[in-house]
């Protein structure tokens, strides 16, 4: 079997040894893949200007050795989203999305899912590089990233009784571990439920339905944004297991609520 050609997105790069570089890549048919680029920091020809964060590449990957790290044999640049690297706020949001994908993207899986995830990654970076970024876009892209990763929270039907939690009126809560909304009658005291305004849940539900390039049309007020950020932050931390390292810089650049 020869090395395979594929599109790829660079999620992370780490220098290794004297001249190698280890890349965390997202591939449309594979999902997340770790590959070593031998001599990448020395070679001016094979990897010229390609192994950098946010680079959309055409790569040649050798995955022949079972159990061993894949080897990157070549790469050509397709797109580099250069607007992200020259704007600190875009860079903060871009890094956050890359880290989220790097931590949660599956290695393997159904092809339709990995292709959808890859398409989301490229489309979201295009959006970040082309449109003004703010706290609202940050929250909505965080939500869409979780959805693309197969971790879509349930915002309308109660995860306990499957009834329409928003129609019933009254208090509504969100249960992080159960991954969705809990209606008033199903809520039990002392189980770590997060009280949420129904308006926030409706807005987030809409955020899941809109096309990515239309997300800026959703008007989200400061209180709603603060609540959505808290909810998504807890949901995401539950699934990642740790606080994302890029979150600190993101909070500095794009707080969900401007103070």
């Amino acid at each position: 079997m020869r090395a395979q050609s594929s599109e790829a997105l660079v999620l992370r790069g780490v220098d290794f040894g004297e001249s190698d570089r280890i890349l965390h890549l997202l591939l449309p048919d594979v999902g997340r893949l770790t590959a070593i680029a031998k001599g990448a920091r020395r070679s001016r020809k094979r990897f010229s200007g390609t192994l950098d964060l946010f680079q959309h590449l055409r790569v040649l990957v050798d995955r022949r050795r079972r159990g061993a790290m894949a080897r990157l044999d070549g790469a050509t640049l397709l797109r580099n989203f250069d607007e992200i690297r020259i704007d600190p706020s875009r860079f903060a949001l871009g890094c956050f999305l890359l880290e989220l994908l790097d931590r949660l993207a599956p290695e393997g899986g159904a092809r339709a899912d990995t292709q959808r995830l890859f398409r989301f990654a490229l489309d979201s970076l295009a959006l970040v590089s082309e449109r003004p970024v703010d706290g609202a876009l940050r929250v909505l892209l965080e939500l869409r990233a979780l959805d693309a990763l197969g971790l879509r929270p349930e915002f309308s039907r109660c995860v306990r009784c499957a009834g329409d939690a928003l129609v019933r009126g009254g208090a509504v809560s969100f249960h992080v571990a159960d991954g969705g909304v809990v209606c008033g009658p199903c809520a039990r005291e002392g189980e770590g439920l997060l009280a949420v305004h129904p308006g926030t849940l409706r807005a987030l539900e809409q955020g899941l339905r809109f096309e990515l390039h239309q997300l800026h049309r959703l008007a989200l007020g400061p209180e709603l944004l603060a609540e959505a950020r808290l909810l998504l932050g807890r949901f995401e931390r539950f699934h990642v297991g740790v606080e994302l390292r890029s979150r600190r810089f993101l909070e500095e650049r794009l707080p969900a609520v401007r103070v």
Partner: protein, 199 residues
């Protein structure tokens, strides 16, 4: 191969150095064993003194044996020009060109949120303080031309913009001895954007 514990210890220590594998470490250990005593003593003393004698320059944050360092003390250098680099090795590379006669400032890295490196981990406040004195007229941002380096340059320029100082970025383009056929289209595009007239 069975060797005496002192040799094993030295091999293990040498293997921790970058670029040194098992074979190279063993070869170096046996070389030192066969060399005159003075060679080993000189090497051991040089390593021991390295950490003891090296300090950070209080002005540019380069590694030096005396603070301020020789570059910061040099009266022939132009104090109105300040070149900002990520690491001491970058400073050495620029200084070795002999083309730059201004002063330096070492940031201590580049923004890398994914690795947990934010502005607080870099010497950006110290840089602001240095520029605030008013002597510096131009800050040359010479961070690496990669995503982290570019983002750092733009973040630093955003922080320094309120001050009365010219902000410039080192040029992008084809490397000397490079080959257009193998260069990526972004680098070629930037070379064209930054083309210059031939005198």
């Amino acid at each position: 191969m069975r060797t005496a514990p002192p040799i094993d210890r030295l091999v293990a220590a040498l293997k921790r150095l970058p670029g040194i594998g098992d074979k190279s470490a063993t070869r170096l250990a046996f070389f030192l064993l066969g060399a005159p005593d003075a060679v080993g003593q000189e090497l051991g003393e040089a390593i021991a003194r390295l950490k003891r004698d090296i300090v950070l320059c209080a002005e540019c944050f380069d590694l030096t044996d005396a603070s301020p360092c020789a570059v910061c003390r040099d009266p022939k250098r132009d104090p109105s020009l300040l070149c900002v680099v990520e690491e001491p090795a970058d400073l050495a590379a620029i200084d070795a060109t002999g083309k730059f006669r201004g002063h330096f400032f070492v940031l201590g890295g580049a923004l890398s949120p994914i690795d947990g490196v934010g502005p607080e981990e870099l010497r950006i406040r110290e840089l602001e303080e240095r520029v605030r004195h008013g002597i510096v007229k131009e800050v040359i941002l010479a961070t690496n031309p990669n995503a982290e380096g570019d983002a750092t340059a733009h973040y630093v320029s955003e922080r320094l913009r309120p001050q009365d100082v010219t902000l410039t970025r080192i040029a992008y383009g084809m490397p000397l001895g490079g080959d257009l056929e193998y260069a990526d289209h972004v680098t070629i595009g930037l070379s064209l954007d930054h083309r210059r007239a031939i005198d």
